[in-house]
């Protein structure tokens, strides 16, 4: 009766604690305190400077999408483009959908801003004329512009900038080399086909992680409606990839997660032939995940989806403790205190080892690994609490508290040495060709049709679809602008292929350049070189121009519509860093030639290489962590089981991890950091198996619990090998191999090794 009351009290306390955790998580979720991130690149540490540059460089492209529409009948393309644009705008998913690349510009506003500095701006041709001291260009340009029957640029600028150099400057900006015009539509010709672009600017809210899939699905449905065998519609933009990857990950999570849960529950049901263990296992896994998730949301503001994928490892370890407790109760008849006393040491040793191992991950400066560690440590801690409270004190109705004889295994499986030798051979076979794959492209999971679309769009528009970034440092914004101008000059000298070099200096020349322009034009006025123009000007206009001007245009005066087209100039450790986006190819020779022409350092921000380097760094950290974990394992095992036996027992998880990696290498041709990540779980599982074997002997219920645990992990992670996300496939494959090896070694482990000295 007392035991029954105690049980109720303990279970009630457990329920209260779990309810509190669930409430806290619901509150946190409802108050919008949990945000998720799915971009694999965001988990990598590029260093502070590179992280800032990546963000600044990516900003102008984040919301931009492009559709290219092609039909033999041009009118059909234009009609389709108009309809898609109208329907997209009606959905509210996009801010703008235009056939013009710069729809956002307000020409009146720009003309007003620029005309306030009437002598500061010279077009490219006028700059050349300035360099040759040829004022006739300014005069001819004036006469030409005034000869046209209607020119809005003249109308908008002539009152404040009467030499029409500002109108000429705008004509430079609005002339689009690659795009041609057709009745208000822009187009580009490629292989005798005419492609009409629809430039999309998505609403931020429509391309978030939780909305991007629905947004792109809606767009795809709209596009599919117009897609006929004669109509080619190509899409390009980061959001298309983001949607495809998120949708794929979501589908896989649901499919694999569903199959795993059904598999685990079926296994449990078949093994125990009772509903109560099933409830216990479900509560154990549910509460462990709840605890892990709560800890994660309390410690981190932004949670990466990949952290959750890897944190699923918790299921593999948590379920292990549940099976051991339940099977021990079933086979020994132990209950409550007695059961707790019997099972607790093994759970503490194996759980403690795993927790310490995962805690070591917190020492690594990688948020992804820290998130995995927090989730698993919190989840595992609560698993131990649940196993030793709820499950141990579960009010079993069917079994009396008796002490039946412990079931020894009826046979001793052989083959430990053969398996061990085989594994060592595998390691030796993999060693000569050992290769760590750190190339970021190996992890790209974008569907092939999207990648092909991007390539095709790049070919058609004649640019690299995504720019290469060049960056330079300076003491202030003005120095950055001067550097930009010098880089622009140098690139124009190096090649004449006309690839665009996009930078804010295209809209704001440096103050030095503005000063030089003003000085040259004022000199022309003073020397009477511009008389053909000044003859038409009022005296007031001429004296206004002659009056010295100390005001110059700066970046701050630019409207947002222009600013958001370019990466922002960022401040870093007292320096300013500015980024130029080059739409052509960059190779080491090009960079070397460019650098030779400049008296300041210019850097190529090679994103793929930087990411690959970050992956390599992360992989090195993981290797270091695995070595530390192996050291901790050896220490704990020898402390608990003595030097020799501890060493022998610690070797099993280490050999399992090494041979899993070797077999993965033989199958894939390489290993990545995700294979290494899998080794953490493999070691944790193998330690569990070994600890329970030595603590409780090679008994039937122990072997059964290990087998059930291995089968569960095999089902849960084995499903990952069907994933089309390379990282998840690599992770799942190594775990599947590791679980099989760990189980085989433990199953065939000679009892002589398990005999404890004491």
């Amino acid at each position: 009766m007392i035991a029954f009351s105690n049980n109720r009290l303990i279970i009630t306390l457990w329920v209260i604690l779990t309810s509190l955790m669930a409430s806290a998580l619901v509150y946190k979720s409802a108050s919008g305190g949990i945000t998720f991130d799915a971009n694999i690149l965001n988990v990598l540490d590029l260093g502070d400077e590179m992280n800032d540059l990546t963000k600044a460089a990516a900003e102008p492209f984040k919301t931009k999408g492009l559709l290219l529409i092609q039909h033999q009948e041009h009118q059909e393309s234009k009609t389709t483009l108009t309809k898609i644009a109208e329907q997209l705008l009606a959905t509210g998913l996009v801010q703008t959908a235009s056939s013009e690349p710069s729809k956002d510009f307000d020409v009146n506003e720009l003309a007003n801003i620029y005309s306030s500095y009437p002598l500061a701006f010279l077009s490219q041709a006028a700059t050349k004329a300035k360099n040759n001291n040829d004022y006739s260009h300014i005069v001819d340009n004036y006469m030409g512009l005034m000869s046209a029957p209607s020119n809005p640029l003249v109308s908008l600028t002539i009152n404040k900038a009467p030499l029409l150099n500002v109108a000429d400057w705008f004509a430079d900006k609005s002339s689009i080399n690659r795009w041609q015009q057709d009745q208000g539509f822009t187009y580009i010709e490629h292989e005798n086909k005419r492609y009409y672009p629809l430039f999309l600017n998505f609403n931020q809210a429509a391309i978030q992680l939780d909305t991007v899939v629905a947004t792109i699905a809606q767009l795809d449905k709209l596009v599919a409606h117009y897609q006929t065998p004669n109509m080619e519609i190509l899409s390009s933009g980061l959001m298309f990839h983001s949607a495809a990857i998120t949708s794929q990950a979501s589908f896989e999570t649901q499919l694999f997660g569903g199959i795993s849960i059904v598999g685990v529950l079926l296994l449990t049901l078949v093994s125990f032939r009772s509903i109560q263990p099933l409830i216990c296992i479900s509560l154990l896994l549910g509460s462990a995940s709840l605890s892990g998730m709560l800890a994660l949301t309390l410690v981190f503001d932004n949670i990466h989806i990949l952290s959750l994928v890897f944190a699923v490892s918790l299921i593999g370890v948590a379920v292990d403790y549940g099976y051991h407790t339940l099977l021990t109760a079933k086979y020994t008849g132990f209950r409550n205190k007695q059961l707790r006393g019997y099972i607790a040491p093994a759970i503490f040793v194996s759980g403690g080892t795993t927790i310490i191992s995962y805690l070591l991950l917190l020492l690594l400066p990688i948020p992804l690994l820290q998130q995995v560690a927090v989730f698993i440590v919190a989840g595992l801690a609560f698993t131990i609490i649940t196993a030793l409270t709820l499950i141990v004190h579960w009010p079993w109705q069917s079994k009396p508290e008796t002490h039946p004889p412990i079931h020894e295994l009826e046979f001793q499986p052989q083959g430990f040495k053969v398996i061990l030798a085989g594994l060592i051979l595998c390691c030796l076979a993999a060693a000569p060709t050992w290769f760590f794959q750190d190339n970021i492209n190996a992890f790209n999971s974008s569907p092939a049709h999207l990648v092909n679309n991007e390539k095709r769009v790049s070919q058609i528009i004649g640019n690299q679809q995504y720019p290469r970034f060049i960056y330079t440092k300076g003491d202030n914004q003005q120095q950055i602008l001067q550097h930009f101008e010098q880089i622009r000059l140098a690139i124009n000298k190096i090649n004449d292929e006309g690839f665009e070099l996009l930078g804010i200096d295209q809209w704001v020349p440096s103050i030095n350049t503005q000063q030089a322009n003003i000085k040259w034009l004022q000199l022309g006025l003073a020397q009477g070189k511009l008389t053909p123009i000044t003859d038409f000007m009022t005296t007031e206009s001429v004296s206004n121009l002659n009056a010295s001007s100390d005001s110059f245009m700066t970046i701050e005066q630019l409207p947002q519509a222009i600013l958001k087209l370019y990466p922002a100039i960022t401040a870093k450790e007292g320096n300013q860093v500015g980024i130029l986006s080059y739409m052509g190819p960059i190779d080491p020779k090009f960079l070397q030639t460019l650098q030779q022409q400049l008296d300041f350092p210019v850097h190529y921000f090679d994103q793929p290489t930087k990411y690959s380097e970050a992956l390599a760094k992360l992989r090195e950290y993981l290797l270091l962590f695995l070595m530390l974990a192996a050291g901790a394992l050896l220490l704990l095992m020898t402390l608990r089981y003595g030097y020799l036996q501890g060493l022998k027992l610690a070797v099993i998880p280490i050999v399992t991890a090494l041979s899993s990696l070797a077999l993965s290498h033989l199958l894939l041709g390489y290993v990545t950091l995700f294979n290494l990540l899998a080794c953490i779980l493999i070691i944790a599982l193998a330690v569990d198996y070994v600890v329970f074997l030595i603590e409780h002997g090679k008994q039937q219920h122990v072997i059964k619990a290990i087998s059930l645990s291995a089968a569960t992990s095999g089902i849960a992670f084995g499903m990952f090998v069907f994933s089309s996300t390379p990282a998840i496939l690599q992770f799942g494959l190594t775990i599947l191999i590791g679980v099989i090896i760990a189980w085989s070694l433990c199953f065939t482990l000679p009892t002589t090794i398990l005999k404890r000295n004491q």
């Binding site: 030409g144 005034m146 000869s147 209607s150 109308s155 609005s174 015009q181 057709d182």
Partner: protein
Amino acid sequence: MRHFFSPLLFLFTLHCPILHGFELPWANQKHIQGNFIQEKHLAALSRPFVTQGKYHYSPETGLVWNTLKPVNNFLLINQDGVSEKQADGSFKMLTTDANFSAMLLPVFSGDPQKLTQYFKISENSKGLTLDPIAPKVSSVMQTLDLVITEQALQQIILHESNGNVTNIYLEANTHPKEKGQ
């Protein structure tokens, strides 16, 4: 009788909301060409900026605006934008903004359908007043007045929002200075 009814019919069609019925005298001509004198009356100028030259319009090539005085300048205005002939014979695109450049093309084409696509049309004592429909155009260009004779387009007056006015006299005999000579 025929002379009596033509203006009536013309006026009637002008007041109809749909102008598909009326025809401008120069419509359906394969080519229109002649001389022009253009006067720009701009607030920033101490005197009008006057240019003279030749024009040629055909639906296929668009409008050629060849200024001969005070400078030689050859502009081609078509649906692709405004381009200027260079010394080497090539054309340099000045602007691809079709909203503005395309504005004169329906006027020279005389095609009512095209005109209604770009303008709200109303009648005045000398011809037609065209109000641009596109907000981007109307923010700069207030109205276009067309002075029309029975045979031809005589004068185009462009009124800009900032008060600037451009008078374009088409054919030499229609210009007041030349009339006086």
